[in-house]
Symmetry: C2
Subunit: 389 residues, 2 copies
């Protein structure tokens, strides 16, 4: 199996009501990634694209072929991947297999989503397709409602208050404030958190990610090919692990057990592939879609015991100079959560850290980064480990 | 790279207004494939599922995780693939890479679609998301309209009449009549063809596939694993080639040039991988969505020169006892075209032929089969070559 190098990254700023179409967003990110990689488009032989809602919200599917054609990737293998909010990392997982397995030497992977043009209700319904229709969405349950139920139970079970979860959001906003591509570039403090609008008790606006649009992309190459190209940013960044797992779509189990079994499986597989454990991770791009999900993701990935993730926040361990920086460019909370693009934003940002090009948000001596992208209430979990070498 | 064996196949009958949900259809096909393979569900480590419209028409996505969980494939890697009508073969292509590349030893691949419950207009609009919204679907163009334009130009350019295309439909119905899982089990003759309703001049109902529901699945294994299992049907069936290509989503090029460049690329790649050429193919499961598309697919795959595919029909070469049987179990025209499932129906049927279990439709001495699944007006083309050995 070939080692897989990330030789180029590209991203659009995360915005609202500015993007003309999902296709054009995707094109912009792919073109930037190709330029960053310094390769000719015609040398690329596949495009894997993660997207969740383009069919529902702008009546356009077969987006991978559409973008491939628009970006000069004429005739390549082009597929769209869907695993709800984990669609982006699913595309990366396939891109990784295609290169590591020897099927392609050079591939493009993109995640793209455009949500903000849709009326709020339509958008909420479009996102609800990630839940089991028979058990949840047909009764009008939204992910905000489900996460509120999860948060309530997490706080009760572990004898915590919303203030205990606030540091996840505050850390994200601290970091996002310095990311020129983040949507919400304003710091957040405890007062701001506690005074934010209640969406569904106990979940407030500042526990939740914003509706937004964006696209991010990477170019992957075999080790052999990567070594013939000038390194963009030094050192080069390699994918050391790529691992996916699934679970039931119903939110019931997650709420009852306060666990994310797919995230547990996926991170366990990733550690095994990389030959590492949680202590080796220098930074973690968490799927901080809701503050309670950040806690469960940290616990599922071996960074904290059950019910203990909030301690990391209180101790300052999650800040850029802490022992496990998370959401280093703002995370889903502040940079934004364009759902099918999120998995690729996480990876592009991790690459910025490992290349030492993260600007004001640079984590010192970052060598190993982990990204975790979740779909639904943990019905999909995909973990990647990246290493600079 | 490991050789990849198809160790199990499963399919539901193609029906209308009977299937309760896309998820349950998918589950039925997957369970049958697992049973046919004679393996334990828990030995399977991934599910790749092709689907196009479940988000639009039944508000359910993340279908791969949903089906994995319902079929006892607990915790597996599970992704949904979308490449419009080629979604099924896209899922197979990924399953092939996962096994051949050494990422999984045993995977399930499923294609599923449920269309017939939706009001006709809604269904037409849902299928139109495969076209370039900016160029076609936003002006109300449907695939019937686009294929009528293509058919008109094909007939004019090559000085043909609709009667010349009729044999593709008649062959499909002849074969579908004996397939217990086909939707339209009635033979068709030239009178029936010519008297069928005109949908968009010159395209008649009998040039087009029916709206319907269905699911088909296969289980793939490494050569090493396959050889430890009792062969189901003898001999075993192997994937000798798996090749995808893309093209522009606009129908304009296809209509102007009367070619399917993605099908040309994809079949060329497939022949090269398999070390075969068109003369080695014993049967061809064509993407006979519209009669004119059958013609272009045959021409793109090297079975006929441009404008000459209709001769194959006239000569009887496409019948079960001809030199290139197509649509051997009814094809998209008679078995039915549940879009995201079609690519897997083609493969399941090819396996039936190669195993010698195709009943009344058995092609004698079938050893090498080719399947070709198209998305949109040839914006995606995926070709597989299967061999019994």
């Amino acid at each position: 199996m070939s080692e897989v190098c990330i030789i180029g990254v590209g991203q659009t700023p995360v915005t609202r009501r500015q993007a003309p179409s999902a296709g054009e967003l995707g094109n912009a990110a792919i073109k930037r990634a190709i330029e960053n990689a310094g390769v000719e488009p015609k040398a690329i032989s596949a495009l894997y694209l993660g997207n969740m809602t383009a069919g529902l919200l702008e009546h356009q599917q077969q987006l991978a072929s559409l973008c491939a054609n628009a970006c000069g990737l004429t005739g390549v293998e082009a597929f769209t991947l869907e695993a709800s909010c984990a669609s982006g990392a699913a595309a990366l997982r396939i891109g990784y297999m295609a290169v590591a397995g020897g099927f392609h030497d050079l591939v493009a992977v993109c995640g793209v989503e455009r949500l903000s043009h849709a009326p709020r209700g339509e958008c909420t319904r479009a996102l609800a397709v990630a839940a089991d229709r028979d058990e949840t969405s047909r009764f009008g349950e939204s992910f905000v409602g489900l996460n509120a139920a999860l948060m309530r139970r997490y706080l009760l079970t572990h004898d915590l208050s919303p203030e205990d979860l606030a540091p996840f959001a505050i850390t994200a906003h601290d970091n996002g404030a310095n990311n020129p591509r983040a949507l919400l570039r304003k710091p957040l403090d405890m007062d701001g958190y506690l005074s934010s609008r209640m969406l569904a008790d106990p979940l407030r606006l500042m526990d939740a990610p914003p509706i937004c649009d964006g696209a991010a992309a990477v170019i992957l190459a075999t080790a052999r090919l990567a070594r013939t190209l000038p390194a963009r940013g030094s050192p080069r960044v390699w994918i050391r692990a790529s691992a996916a797992a699934s679970d039931t779509l119903t939110a019931r189990n997650c709420i009852a057990e306060l666990r994310l079994p797919a995230a547990e499986r996926s991170s366990r597989r990733a550690y095994r592939q990389a030959g590492l454990d949680a202590r080796d991770i220098d930074l973690f791009e968490a799927h901080d879609a809701f503050t309670v999900i950040t806690a469960l993701s940290l616990e599922s990935s071996g960074f904290a015991a059950r019910g203990q993730a909030v301690r990391l926040g209180k101790e300052g361990a999650l800040a850029l100079d802490g022992r496990l920086p998370i959401s280093t460019m703002g995370g889903l909370k502040s940079r934004g959560h364009p759902v099918g693009a999120t998995g690729l934003y996480q990876v592009v940002e991790a690459v910025q850290q490992l290349r030492g090009t993260a600007g004001k948000n640079q984590v010192e001596d970052a060598r190993v980064a982990m990204t975790q992208n979740l779909g639904g209430m943990g019905a999909t979990a995909i973990t990647h480990v990246l290493e600079a070498a």
